[in-house]
């Protein structure tokens, strides 16, 4: 296993085995303030296509704000965010909220929750159902989808949210601390599920996580943010082969990369 924890100026490409994978999301000159508090100031970032990027950084540094701006949930003050040259409205994307209880629709059965985004794509009912069924079969999910979300466990509910985000076959999937409301056992299980979904769909994924081990374990590349105004403190690759397992956690390369990320993180926290 090869780990390349290289510091680099924000936005500038880093060479990886000579060939940098093409950028999927390019962020240039992004600025954002909340009532005068600068969260982003001329921020640049590239997110590679088909890769899994974890976002990690100090509390309140702007992790959620970043993916919310990319996903169009909050407006940006200045700058440009493009998806291989296209704007947000021209692409399909999915978003998974931390609070699945408040993000799912309790009046709809699980299967109808998953189907919901397709209703805004002008597809006939039969085709919508077929898409949902194909996704369910593809992911091998064994949940009774006739149940209402509140009848399911937290992990199952979050799995429904993830499927709801995936059913439109998004180019990009955003996840904001999707597992932080789950207990440890369920979190471990869900990490494996997400890793499998990533392997099977090849969707570009951007995950915000509070858990460094989780962030490194799942990621192809870890975005380490500084305190406000957020800069890229480091953006190292994790080249551990997939599928990753519990054994991966104790491999030298993984341990070393995690230690490196922790060091960068603590350096940034101390700066504050």
């Amino acid at each position: 296993m090869k780990v390349v924890p290289v510091s680099r100026p924000a936005g500038a490409p880093v060479s990886l085995k000579g060939a940098e994978p093409p950028a999927h999301i390019t962020i240039r000159g992004l600025s954002k303030q909340f009532n005068g508090a600068v969260v982003y100031d001329k921020f640049d970032l590239d997110i590679p296509r088909g890769k899994f990027v974890s976002v990690f950084g100090p509390n309140g540094c702007g992790k959620s704000t970043l993916i919310n701006m990319i996903a169009g949930l909050i407006p940006i003050d200045a700058g440009e965010i493009l998806f291989a040259g296209k704007t947000l409205s021209q692409i399909k994307f999915g978003y998974v909220f931390q609070n699945y209880r408040e993000a799912l629709f309790p009046w709809l059965r699980s299967i109808d929750n998953i189907e919901y985004p397709l209703k805004h794509m002008n597809l006939p009912k039969a085709e919508r159902r077929a898409k949902v069924e194909r996704l369910v079969a593809h992911l091998g999910v064994k949940i009774d989808l006739q149940r209402y979300p509140y009848e399911l466990s937290g992990g199952q509910q979050q799995l429904i949210s993830i499927m709801r985000a995936l059913v439109v076959e998004p180019e990009v999937l955003f996840l904001d601390e999707p597992f932080s409301a789950l207990d440890y056992e369920m979190t471990l299980f869900m990490r494996q599920q997400l890793q499998r979904i990533f392997a099977e769909t090849g969707t570009t994924m951007v995950l915000v996580s509070h858990d460094l081990e989780e962030a490194v374990y799942l990621a192809d590349r870890i975005l380490l943010l500084s305190r406000r105004p957020a800069r890229v403190a480091d953006y190292p690759w994790n080249e551990a082969p997939r599928p990753r397992t519990d054994a991966t956690l104790s491999e030298a390369g993984f341990v070393q990369l995690k230690a490196h990320c922790l060091e960068v993180f603590q350096r940034e926290v101390r700066k504050g």
């Binding site: 609070n99 408040e102 799912l104 629709f105 805004h120 794509m121 209402y148 509140y150």
Partner: protein, 249 residues
């Protein structure tokens, strides 16, 4: 578990026992407090005749009042609640009239609509509508932010966010409004039946029994009114359970 469902009966039996004892030891003048048997006999006999008719009239008025209130207040509440600014600008007026005892409006409604049947219904509808309006608007305004964002992120237009999310989000609160509204409508209808040149209805029955000093009849009418109020509340709870299955979950 099974035994616990009998618990509510304890209070009922207790009340009847106390009543019996009160009659037996003559704490109160027997003319003022007839025995439980006499009252229940009057209730059973009355429900098959005049009392039954009055009961029906009150149900009818309460039903119309609530229906009118709901038809006006629910859409209006959704409309006002969808824009917090709009609601804030009329909030004071709504709260003011919501706090005004509806009975204080009788004379005004009498002047406006005369002494007919509809006057009672309209006063009750007025009171109920404000309660329903207030609850619906709050239900819409307090729709979970995340859920609205989720719908938006999945491509729902503003109108679809309103119909697919806000409306359903507000349903539990709407039912709170309907339950309070129907209770208030019943109160107003019964009071109106007592005073504004009435010839029927439970309020009229209670009032008339009092005038004739027919105490068993009066207690019977009071129990009928109580049963009606309780029943209406229960009915709306059952409807809510059926249609808003996610409420409180």
């Amino acid at each position: 578990m099974k035994r616990d469902s009998f618990l509510p009966l304890v209070g009922v039996v207790g009340l009847i026992v106390v009543w019996y004892i009160a009659v037996w030891v003559r704490i109160v003048d027997p003319v003022l407090l007839p025995s439980p048997q006499a009252s229940f006999a009057a209730l059973v006999k009355g429900m098959g005749g005049k009392l039954g008719f009055d009961f029906f009239k009150t149900v009818e008025r309460t039903f119309y009042a609530t229906a009118i209130a709901a038809v006006i207040a629910i859409p209006l509440g959704v409309f006002l609640g969808a824009s917090e600014k709009l609601y804030r600008s009329v909030e004071f007026v709504i709260d003011f009239f919501r706090s005004t005892p509806a009975s204080a409006m009788f004379p005004l409604f009498l002047v406006l609509f005369g002494v007919g049947n509809w006057t009672k219904i309209l006063v009750a509808a007025f009171g109920a509508a404000l309660v329903i309006l207030f609850n619906v608007a709050y239900g819409v305004m307090n729709a979970r932010k995340t859920r609205l964002l989720a719908a938006k992120v999945m491509g729902a237009s503003r109108l679809r966010v309103l119909t697919d999310v806000m409306l359903l989000e507000s349903l539990p609160q709407t039912f709170v409004g309907l339950r309070n509204g129907v209770s208030l409508a019943l109160v107003i209808v019964v009071v109106a039946e007592m005073f504004i040149g009435s010839v029927d209805g439970l309020g009229h029955r209670v009032f008339e029994a009092q005038q004739l000093f027919d105490m068993p009849d009066m207690y019977a009418a009071i129990f009928a009114a109580g049963a009606l109020g309780y029943g209406l509340n229960l009915l709306f709870l059952l409807i809510e359970k059926r249609f808003v299955h996610w409420s409180g979950k």
